[in-house]
Every structure is written in structure tokens, then in C-alpha cells.
């Protein structure tokens, strides 16, 4: 399912000049297919008219014992961990817990001990030394904004959590990625596990993680790792595989051992991709901050959660801090990667000596500033107010910011506002003409017709193997006893994907044609990918007060950026020769776009569709929290009411849906361009 397999998907990648997806010639198989797919859909509609509601998934084909089994598994885990004679595994896990707890607490404490002045100076100077002044300015702006928002301590806690989690992710993910990059078999073996780690919602495994690691930083780190290790593995593997085979051959021919080839050839040449994996791991990690807060991750995640219940403006402010942290970390790591690239720096001996001196001077300066700040009695955390002998100044602009956000929220919540007059009908329209008809169709068709029709569509679009996968996945969903909610979720996922793809292609093509648009879009896309969805979805509930729509909006907003990025890079990657030839024959700009660029970029666009689906599925649980019901609701309940088994079953159904949809949209990519990677 290759989330980020041909290309790092989620989020802000500066350093990641994404590898342009392979663009094979358009195949004739595609033609005539829409008509046949249309035929299948027409048959479904006919069957619906005749047999509506006649055959829901039968109880006799349901394995009801599964949730119960899973519940007892959880109980068993709890017993094992607290047992007197614990098995070696649990001792090991406990050791890891102690280590991770220590890592996070120590770095938090260290950053607080250095005082806010010292921490700020250290961050800015280090980034300045290794990443240049531009990146340092961004970091400075970010740190100052945490201070002014009055969220310094929470930000430091989140930063420490992220640094620890990302370090551990890379320590585990990179070696696995190297193995996967060097061996096709390893790669194939771990891919399903990576897919599962990214699609199964974190809510489903929070409780087992808490049982194994208790609450606190360690548990938060583990959850973050489950989600953020896969991109580290995938991008590393991609980088290693991307090293020219003849280079590797050459080194072997000169008698290099396997390890020498790895360390002297493959790793150095894959440097850019390795650094990109650092960068993407950070992005994925940050998107889990709020969930990590639920099990003791503290920091900004906590502020978001409690803000949601009692102060929506505060939740938005903390969400903004998360975005700022993501952007600053992204730009800083990208700049450091760029500046320290040995292939681009040709240092003389003298230059090297000077560089070392500058580094030393930077470190000395940091130590001096920290000690000075402590001597002058600077506070550990940025204070709420400064006191002078005569007056007290408010040190943050938190109140002003909150008032500002609140007034925007008030406007949104005003049902007489202009914007509400536009958004409410759109919401109702979506429910009435897209979500509800599709749901009713999928749920109320006799199950065997739904199953065979969807498999037939898969056969038509992608071929035999994907069709078999789809069949197996749908039957698995039914057997687990979640047919109805799964079809409900499927209807929402399909509508959301359609919208995300439509928006993604339109905006993506536009951005590909106009670099200015792309530049303007970038911060917006970064924001959409790292801002916790719960934060911005609440305003949407006011704007579109119908249960399933805000969830769909959240999915679209999360998935569209990925589609936009893939489409942009695909269209841009179309060979200039083809474009020039078309122009030479007198094609207008519009004709070049629709007749040449878009058809040639179709594979990239299909990859966008595929990644869009994965991202949409990742948001299903959030949908459950804002009223989408169905599988997302069951997963959320799994944690909140401790219906562990039911939650896991619903998560598995989400995974099965993901695999099915993925195979339908991806197999062609795989059978053509993908295979040669």
C-alpha cells in the first residue's frame, strides 16, 4: 500500500525534491473502461431497486467470538505484566520504558534548567551554525511565538517528546530501512506491517500500550513510533535502492565487502533521502501529539484536548503552536541537510579547521549565555509577566490572541453570517445527494451483490489479483460482523476521496503551471497536514451542522495536500520535449495542458488518488469523534468505554477497506512504473 513508498507523502518537505514518478505511455486498457464500470454501477442500481434491504450480512457467516477473544488477550497482557515472575520480554519492555521516560524527562528538564533565554539562544545558535541564518531566523521566530503565546512550557515538553521519539524512530527505522533497501524479500515481508502501522488508528492500540508501558512519556513515545517508524523505513529503503546499481557493482568489483559497500557507497549516496526520512519522521510524529497527550504525553497535546472542552480558542492557539513547531523543524532540518552536504562543500584543511573553531565558539557562546541567564535569575519557563521595581508588565500576548481567535469563532458560530448562508446548504447538499444515497446503496443492497459488484469493478479497473484482494477483504469485513458500519464508512471514504482528488487535481495542475501559486500554497499545505484535525473541525460543525459532513471535510482537508503535491510534481515532470512538440504544432496552452500534460502525468495522478485514499482512511477515527458514526465511532468507543475487542475489530475493518481500495487504485502503478524501482 506504500504510504510514501514512491514518494514521501505527508507534509512539508523542502529537502524532498520528490522523485518524479515514472511516467509510462498511456495504456489502451484504460479506454472503454469507464463504460464497463458504469455498466456494473447500473446493474447495482437495478438490483437495489428490486432487492433493497432483502439480504443484510447473515449472522450465520459472522464470527462473533472475535471481540471477546481480543478482550481476554488484553486481560492476559495485564496479568502478565503484573505477575511476580515476569517473562523476559516484559522485563525488556520495562527497561525500554524506563529509558524512554528518562530520555524525555531529562531533555525537558534540561531545556527548563537552561532557562528560556538559554534554550532560545541554544536553538537559534545551533541552527545558525549548521543550517545558516535563514533557518535560524525561522527558529527564532518560532521560539518567540511560543513565548508570546504563553505556551513556552508546553512547547518545550512537546519538543522534548518529539526529539526523543524521532531519535528512537530513526534508530529503529533506518537500520530496517537499510535492510529493506538491500533485500527485496525483506522489503516485501515488512510492507504489510508498515501499512498496518499507518492505517490502524492509534486509538485502537492506546490501551495495550498503556498496559505494557503505563502512562507517561514512554507510552507517548511508543505510540508516536508506531505511526512514524514506517516513513523512516520506507524513505530509507527508497534511498538505498535509488543508488545506481552500476555504482554498487563497481564497488564490488573493486573488492569491497558488503559492509564497505553499504557504509562507503550506498549510505553516502543515499544521503539526501536519509535526511528526508528524518524530516518526514518529524512530520508524522507531530501529527500524533494530541493523541499522545491522552496517555501522558503532556505538552501542547494536553492544551489542545482540554481546550476543546472548555476554551476552543486556546485549542486553536495550541494547534497553531504545533504547526509552527512543525514548520520550524522542517525548515531547520532541511537547511541543515543542505548545508552539511559534503558533496556541495569542498573544504580545504584550513577551512575545516576554521569550521571546527566556529562550532567550538558557538558551543562556548551557548554555555556562556546559559550560565549568564541563570546567574541573572532568568525564569525556567518564559514568564507570564515581567516585574520591575515599579510596575508589572504582561509578558505574553496570549489574551489578545485568544480574543482575536474568539471573535473569529464567534463570527463562524453566528448563524446569520454570510458564510453560514453558503456553507449550510453545501453541507445539506452533500448529505442529501452524495453521502446518504451512496450509504443506502452499499448498506441495503444484498451483501453478495455488493461484494461481487465491487470485485467486478476492481477487475475492470485493475485486473485479476486486485479483484481477488478486494473480494477477500470484503468477505473478511463481513465475517468480523461489521458489514453495515464498514459500508457506511466506505460511502464516506469514497465521497471524501472523490472531493479530495477533484480539488487536488485542479489545484495541483494550477500550481504546476504557476510557481507563484505553488509558493503561496506551501505554508497552507504544511498547516493542513500538521494542524490537529480536531482543532479546526469544531468550527466546521458550526458551519455545516450535519453529522457526517464535518468528518468528510476533515478528510478532504487532510488528504488534498498530498494529492496536490503529487499532481504538481507529476505534471511538472512531464518531459519538456513533449510539451515543446505540441506547442510547435500550434497547440494552445489549454490544449497542451489537457491533451499532453495531464494524460502524460496520469500515473502520478493515480498515485495521488491512491495516497489520497490512505490519508482519508487515516482520518476516519477523527470522523468518529465529530459525528461520522460507523467504524470511526466504534474505534473511539473502543478506547473510551474500554470495548477493546470491538475497537480492534473496527480498526481491522478500516485496514481491510484500505487494502481493498489501495489495490484497486495502485496495482496499475505497480505493474507498470512501480515494478522497476
Amino acid at each position: 500500500m506504500a504510504v510514501a513508498s514512491t514518494e514521501p507523502t505527508a507534509s512539508a518537505s523542502t529537502s524532498g525534491q520528490p522523485a518524479a514518478p515514472a511516467i509510462p505511455a498511456p495504456s489502451s486498457r484504460w479506454r472503454g473502461r469507464p463504460a464497463r464500470v458504469g455498466g456494473v454501477v447500473a446493474l447495482m442500481a437495478l438490483a437495489f431497486a428490486l432487492l433493497r434491504g432483502d439480504a443484510p450480512w447473515p449472522d450465520s457467516l459472522t464470527w462473533n467470538a472475535l471481540p471477546g477473544r481480543l478482550d481476554s488477550l488484553q486481560g492476559w497482557l495485564l496479568e502478565q505484566r503484573t505477575a511476580e515472575d515476569r517473562s523476559f520480554i516484559f522485563v525488556l519492555l520495562d527497561g525500554f520504558r524506563a529509558f524512554a521516560d528518562w530520555l524525555v524527562t531529562t531533555s525537558t528538564d534540561a531545556m527548563l534548567w537552561m532557562t528560556w533565554v538559554g534554550t532560545l539562544a541554544a536553538a537559534v545558535l545551533l541552527v545558525w551554525r549548521f543550517g545558516g541564518w535563514r533557518a535560524a531566523l525561522i527558529v527564532l521566530a518560532a521560539m518567540v511565538s511560543f513565548a508570546l503565546m504563553g505556551l513556552w512550557e508546553a512547547s518545550v515538553q512537546t519538543l522534548a517528546l518529539m526529539l526523543a521519539a524521532v531519535t528512537l524512530c530513526l534508530a529503529i527505522g533506518m537500520p530496517i530501512g537499510v535492510l529493506a533497501g538491500r533485500s527485496r524479500r525483506v522489503h516485501r515481508a515488512i510492507t504489510p506491517a508498515l501499512d498496518a502501522m499507518q492505517i490502524v488508528p492509534a486509538f485502537a492500540y492506546l490501551m495495550p500500550v498503556v498496559i505494557l508501558f503505563s502512562v507517561g512519556p514512554a507510552a507517548a513515545v511508543i505510540c508516536t513510533m508506531i505511526y512514524a517508524v514506517p516513513p523512516a523505513v520506507r524513505i530509507t529503503a527508497l534511498g538505498i535502492r535509488g543508488v545506481q546499481p552500476d555504482t554498487v557493482e563497481a564497488s564490488k568489483a573493486y573488492g569491497a565487502t558488503s559492509l564497505q559497500t553499504l557504509f562507503k557507497v550506498q549510505l553516502p549516496l543515499a544521503r539526501r533521502q536519509l535526511l528526508l526520512s528524518v524530516n518526514q519522521t518529524i512530520m508524522f510524529g507531530l501529527s500524533l501529539v494530541v493523541i499522545a497527550g491522552l496517555i501522558g504525553g503532556r505538552g501542547l497535546g494536553d492544551v489542545v484536548t482540554s481546550g476543546l472542552y472548555s476554551n476552543a480558542a486556546l485549542a486553536l492557539l495550541a494547534g497553531a503552536a504545533i504547526v509552527i513547531m512543525a514548520i520550524a523543524l522542517d525548515r531547520a532540518t532541511a537547511a541543515i541537510a543542505d548545508r552539511t552536504d559534503p558533496t556541495r562543500r569542498h573544504l580545504t584543511n584550513e577551512g575545516r579547521k576554521r569550521a571546527k573553531l566556529v562550532t567550538l565558539a558557538t558551543l562556548v557562546a551557548i554555555v556562556a549565555i546559559v550560565l549568564l541567564a541563570r546567574a541573572l535569575g532568568a525564569a525556567e519557563s518564559y514568564p507570564d509577566e515581567f516585574e520591575t521595581a515599579t510596575t508589572v508588565f504582561t509578558a505574553t500576548i496570549q489574551d489578545t490572541l485568544l480574543d482575536g481567535i474568539q471573535s473569529v469563532l464567534d463570527y463562524i458560530q453566528d448563524p446569520t453570517s454570510l458564510i453560514f448562508g453558503i456553507t449550510e446548504p453545501i453541507g445539506n447538499f452533500l448529505v442529501k445527494y452524495a453521502l446518504e444515497p451512496l450509504r443506502v446503496l452499499l448498506v441495503e443492497l444484498p451483501w453478495f451483490i455488493t461484494v461481487s459488484a465491487l470485485a467486478a469493478i476492481a477487475l475492470l479497473i485493475s485486473g485479476r489479483r486486485p479483484a481477488i484482494t478486494v473480494l477477500a477483504m470484503l468477505l473478511a469485513i463481513g465475517t468480523m460482523g461489521v458489514w453495515e458500519p464498514a459500508m457506511d464508512t466506505a460511502s464516506q471514504v469514497l465521497v471524501a476521496t472523490a472531493l479530495a482528488v477533484a480539488i487536488g487535481i485542479a489545484v495541483g495542475v494550477w500550481a504546476a503551471e504557476s510557481p507563484r501559486v505553488e509558493k503561496l500554497l506551501r505554508p497552507l499545505l504544511d498547516t493542513l497536514q500538521t494542524l490537529p484535525q480536531l482543532v479546526y473541525i469544531i468550527p466546521f460543525i458550526y458551519l455545516m451542522p450535519v453529522s457526517r459532513v464535518p468528518g468528510v471535510v476533515a478528510s478532504v482537508l487532510y488528504a488534498a495536500p498530498v494529492v496536490i503535491r503529487l499532481v504538481t510534481s507529476g505534471v511538472r515532470g512531464v518531459s519538456p520535449a513533449a510539451v515543446e512538440a505540441a506547442s510547435a504544432f500550434g497547440a494552445t496552452r489549454g490544449q497542451v495542458l489537457t491533451k499532453v500534460k495531464i494524460p502524460l502525468a496520469r500515473e502520478a495522478i493515480m498515485l495521488g488518488v491512491n495516497q489520497g485514499i490512505i490519508m482519508v482512511l487515516a482520518v476516519v477515527v477523527i470522523g468518529g469523534l465529530v459525528g461520522s458514526g460507523a467504524l470511526g465511532d466504534e474505534v473511539a468507543r473502543g478506547l473510551q468505554r474500554n470495548e477493546f475487542g470491538a475497537g480492534v475489530v473496527a480498526s481491522l475493518a478500516i485496514l481491510a477497506l484500505g487494502i481493498a481500495l489501495d489495490r484497486v487504485t495502485q496495482s496499475r502503478t505497480r505493474s507498470t512504473g512501480g515494478q522497476q524501482r
Partner: protein, 336 residues
């Protein structure tokens, strides 16, 4: 969010941590942490007995923020404890108490499964008795709806008039806005058992559900929804309750256990809000335990502070401390 965690002794902690880090003494950090409570007593106010560090867990809703910060103010100002507030989700916090990572939860809405597992079987969590706040779940409509349709005072009045609550979402039925998936509920079963032509629509987590019905109120539309007291929103919005059938002895409240809808056909029972303590904390001899054990609030106390925090956006620390100052007599009773 104004630097609420760990004020004083962190300095000691931090120095030790950095010294250790500098010395690369990686392993020894566990012990260093143990010393913290002892070191904290000198920074505390007039502590009669060494109180040390107490970790309270704040649940996500505003009522819990209120009672947690009231307790924090009392423990810090009267006993000189160092109070840390965590925000761990409702179910994982049981394991947190079992592991001694959280000392107390002051507002638990009776998680019977977890009580069986952690209190009765494992004995790692201790029931600290009722907080005094009584929870009540029911069906609510805005007051203007009740004024126009006085028959809605009981559920029978809804019969035949379900149309009033129709939305795009509910088709030709009336819409019933369900509660947070994490809360105890049986409304789907109730609707079925009472034979009402209503469609149960999940609105999602509480903030999302609140967004839905407050928006309806702003539009002056009719809306029927799952809601509860004590809740500070009840002071901000005028709501009226639809009376459900009287309770019968065998009537159940939590549809989680499934089965015939008929067995849920009654009003929700009053929920006694419990205080829970980690066993470790209960046996530590900390003076904080005795105070928290005696702590008692009324629904009005809690709502007033919750409204100050969530409605008027006061800082929780200040709102909690203000209540403690104003209610010195009540607090005095917990201290003796």
C-alpha cells in the same frame, strides 16, 4: 495554560538531571527522581507534615477541571504539597493509578468494568467515596421548544410530534442528537422501546455535540439531545428536560451490555460521582490523602467554578483558589 505543572522543586530536579547528563551517568536517574518529594518541603508553605508531591488527573470536561483545581489550591496553600495535574484519558488513567503514576481522580462517572478489574480484582485502585456531586443524564430540549410545546415535559408528548425535530440528516424521522461515544448511554434502545419515530444521530465527542445543539439554539431551531448535569453550559443556555418513564428495579442504563431494548425502558439513574485513589497513595500516609478523602462539593460549587473557567475563560488556578478563599468554612471541614 500558564505553566501549571511542577513549580518549585523542578530546579533541584533539573540541576541533578543536567549534572548527570554531563557526567554521562545515564543509568542513575531513577534514584534522583525519588529525592524530589523530600527536597520539595523546603519550598512549600507552612507544612505541618511532609506532604510531598501529589498527582491529580484532570478529566477532559470543565467540571473536572473545576474540582481538580479546587483540590490543587487546597493542597498547595494549606498543606504545602506540590501538585502536578495530568490529563490522561478516562480509561487509561486506571492503569496509571495502578502503576502509581497518578494519585487521584476526583470525578469518576462509575466505570463499572474498570472498578471490577482494578478495585475488586487487582486492588491497585481504591474507591475514595462520593465527591458529593451527583450526575444526572437525560433528554433535553431548549426552553423555547418546551414553552411552545408544553406536552414535551414527558416523553409521551413527543409521540406523533417527532417531525418537529426533522433535519437533513434524519430523513423523514425526527433527529435525536446522541451523546459522546465515551459516555454511558442507551438512547437507541430507549427510542426503540418507547416506539418513537426518532433517528439517533451520533454527534461525536462532547465538544462536537455541544457545537451541534448550541448552533441549533442560535438558529432558534428545535433540537432534542442527550445531555447531563452538572454542566456549566446549563447556566449559559436555558434547557428543559423531557421526563422519561419511571425507573423500574431491573432497568439498565448502559446499552454496552446489549440485549432486548425493553430492559432499558426507563429514565437514567442518578450517577454518584466517585473519587478514586491509587492504592499506593492511599497507603502512603500523606496528609493530602486525608484531605482529598474528606473533600466534598455540591453540584452548585462545581458548576460555579466550571463556568468561571470555561464560560468566563478564567485561569483554572485562579478560579480554584478563589473558590477556596470564598468557601473557607467548607475547606476547613476537609482539613480537620
Amino acid at each position: 495554560m500558564r505553566g501549571t505543572f511542577m513549580r518549585g522543586p523542578r530546579r533541584v530536579h533539573g540541576v541533578a538531571a543536567l549534572a548527570l547528563a554531563l557526567a554521562l551517568g545515564v543509568g542513575a536517574c531513577g534514584e534522583e527522581k525519588e529525592e524530589t518529594p523530600a527536597a520539595s518541603s523546603d519550598s512549600g508553605a507552612a507544612a505541618e507534615k511532609d506532604c510531598g508531591k501529589v498527582t491529580l488527573n484532570e478529566q477532559a470536561w470543565a467540571g473536572s477541571t473545576a474540582n481538580t483545581y479546587i483540590a490543587k489550591a487546597v493542597l498547595e496553600d494549606k498543606l504545602g504539597c506540590e501538585v502536578e495535574v495530568t490529563k490522561i484519558a478516562e480509561i487509561p488513567v486506571f492503569q496509571a493509578m495502578a502503576d502509581g503514576k497518578v494519585d487521584a481522580v476526583l470525578e469518576d462517572w462509575q466505570h463499572t468494568d474498570e472498578y471490577a478489574k482494578y478495585i475488586e480484582e487487582a486492588g491497585t485502585v481504591v474507591d475514595g467515596g462520593p465527591l458529593g456531586v451527583e450526575g444526572h443524564i437525560g433528554w433535553f430540549v431548549p426552553k423555547y421548544v418546551m414553552d411552545e410545546n408544553p406536552e414535551f415535559a414527558t416523553w409521551e408528548g413527543l409521540k406523533g410530534k417527532e417531525d418537529l425535530f426533522k433535519t437533513a440528516e434524519s430523513g423523514d424521522q425526527g433527529m435525536f442528537l446522541g451523546g459522546d461515544p465515551g459516555y454511558v448511554q442507551k438512547d437507541k434502545e430507549l427510542i426503540k422501546a418507547l416506539g418513537l419515530n426518532l433517528k439517533h444521530v451520533t454527534a461525536g465527542a462532547e465538544p462536537a455535540q455541544v457545537a451541534r445543539w448550541t448552533q441549533a439554539i442560535k438558529q432558534k431551531k428545535p433540537v432534542l439531545f442527550y445531555w447531563y448535569t452538572p454542566q456549566f453550559y446549563n447556566q449559559q443556555y436555558e434547557l428543559a428536560e423531557v421526563k422519561l418513564p419511571e425507573r423500574t428495579p431491573d432497568c439498565k442504563d448502559d446499552a454496552k451490555s446489549g440485549g432486548d431494548p425493553e430492559q432499558y425502558k426507563c429514565a437514567y439513574d442518578v450517577t454518584v460521582i466517585e473519587k478514586l485513589f491509587s492504592k499506593k497513595f492511599a497507603e502512603s500516609g500523606s496528609p493530602a490523602y486525608d484531605v482529598l478523602k474528606k473533600m466534598e462539593l455540591t453540584n452548585e460549587d462545581q458548576d460555579a467554578v466550571a463556568k468561571a473557567i470555561a464560560g468566563d475563560k478564567e485561569d483554572p488556578e485562579e478560579a480554584g483558589a478563589a473558590w477556596v478563599t470564598e468557601n473557607a468554612d467548607k475547606v476547613e471541614a476537609w482539613l480537620n
